[in-house]
């Protein structure tokens, strides 16, 4: 019984930590994007190159981080893919002539700067990263 409780508490802790980690990523957009919220499915379509417009009609342009924990977390939680799997999928999109690869940034600060100055740009950063000049999009 003691062992069962220990395992349960361990799993609960891991679950709680995973939940906290998920909440660390926020989706940001240029002020020109009309929506304040977007569904996970619609966001997935945008970041896979299948869609260039949100339901409100806004034309959007996804941008990526090159690597890091926030990048991996966004891809895992929203796209359901590993960073390698995501890049492989995009290379297929590019080499079959269906779209061009999104811009990728070395840092979250550079991404915020680009998103704030580029109409339609949509990206993702850690919650703690300063993000003045961009709007935060709620993902549901």
């Amino acid at each position: 019984m003691k062992m069962f409780i220990s395992v349960f508490l361990l799993l609960a802790s891991v679950g709680a930590l995973a939940g906290r980690a998920e909440a660390q990523v926020i989706v940001i957009a240029n002020q020109s994007v009309k929506s304040d919220a977007v569904s996970k499915n619609d966001l997935r379509e945008v970041f896979l190159g299948n869609s260039t417009n949100l339901k409100d009609g806004s034309r959007v342009k996804p941008v990526l981080l090159k690597e890091g924990a926030i990048h991996a977390e966004f891809l895992s939680n929203v796209m359901g893919k590993s960073p390698t799997g995501f890049m492989v999928a995009w290379r297929g999109v590019v080499m079959s002539g269906q779209s061009t690869m999104p811009k990728a940034f070395d840092s979250e600060t550079a991404m915020v700067d680009y998103v704030s100055h580029t109409a339609g740009a949509v990206g993702y950063i850690g919650k703690a990263t300063p993000h003045g000049g961009v709007k935060v999009i709620d993902v549901h």
Partner: protein, 381 residues
Amino acid sequence: MIRTHVSFLALAVFFGLGSAMAQSITDLDLQVHGYAAQGFLYTSHNKMFYTDSDNGSPAWTEAVINISVQPEPKLSVAVQGRYAMLGTSGNTITLDWAAADYKVNNKLGVRFGKVKTPWGLFNETQDIDQTYLWALLPQSIYDITTRNADLSHYGGVVYGRVNVGSRAGKVDYKLWGGEAVIPTSDGQFDDLNLAGNGPQNSLTYPIYGGALHWNTPLTGLMVGASDSRANQTSVLLHGGTESFAAWNNLSYFAKYEKNKVMVAAEWNRQASPGTLDLAGHPVASISTDTRGWYAMASYRLTDKLNVGAYHSQYFDRQAPLSTDRFTKDWAVSAKYNLGAYVYLKAEQHFIDGSALSLDSQRNPDPSPIYHATALKIGVSF
């Protein structure tokens, strides 16, 4: 003629619009991508794909380089070159595709130049090795030896996505038309080339078609169909003529992909009535009426390792009753990503029937039951 016009138009867009609308390379968003893959084939019997595979053959190399620019959000222009060598076929660098793409919105886009022909489930990506698990896609539909005939055409594609209601999902449509060109070095002319009767020029013919992909309300499930049609054509050979009547390539397919699981199936029919008229020989029928299908499943065991299996069947209803009439293939496969750029593939095939993959010059008396091992290493960026 269509080829010349669309090539000129695409080049004009590439150089004209690109330079006029962009201030610098940064503005153009210039990107370079590509991949190279080296394969190894071994068969227990028979010489597969024009190689000496029964002794083990490394004569299987592919490479692609892609350069693209995006001068403004709705317009992108790209060119892709391809090198492919499989046994004695290919060994040339070809223009894979070169196109300008103008996407008005999700509902409407247009692509023109030399464009990928979007029939079936895999045709647009069948030469982009890194994007799928398999070393060989099911040969019943995606025959690697005649790939050049299928990959792309000169002309255009009109495409878009229509939302059919919150409870009915979305439908992607693609309509295409133009001219297909099969180069003289293509694998499908290998028998003729080996006999000294190869084509004098590329085989060209008008094609048109359409595809619908219904992204159902069940997340991850897509159901679709495509039909590609070609007008009658003929090509002058060294010592004769090869002629084809109008034909069509019909596919129905479905794919379910969610989290770590992928399941897909496709059925295809290609009817190609034709004759071979060689000097000194009676006119021979080269008509085929084929049915191909496969069902496949894969599972991502870890972020790096993907495993799967498929079963594929092919029947030529015009062929005489023998093991040359069909090919049935069970395949088990694994792909391992060594990192973001390098991958390895290993695949084992258990094949019954000799209708596919075995040319008659090297296999005058093929063994109907054989095994094939395919290994690949690739680099992509």
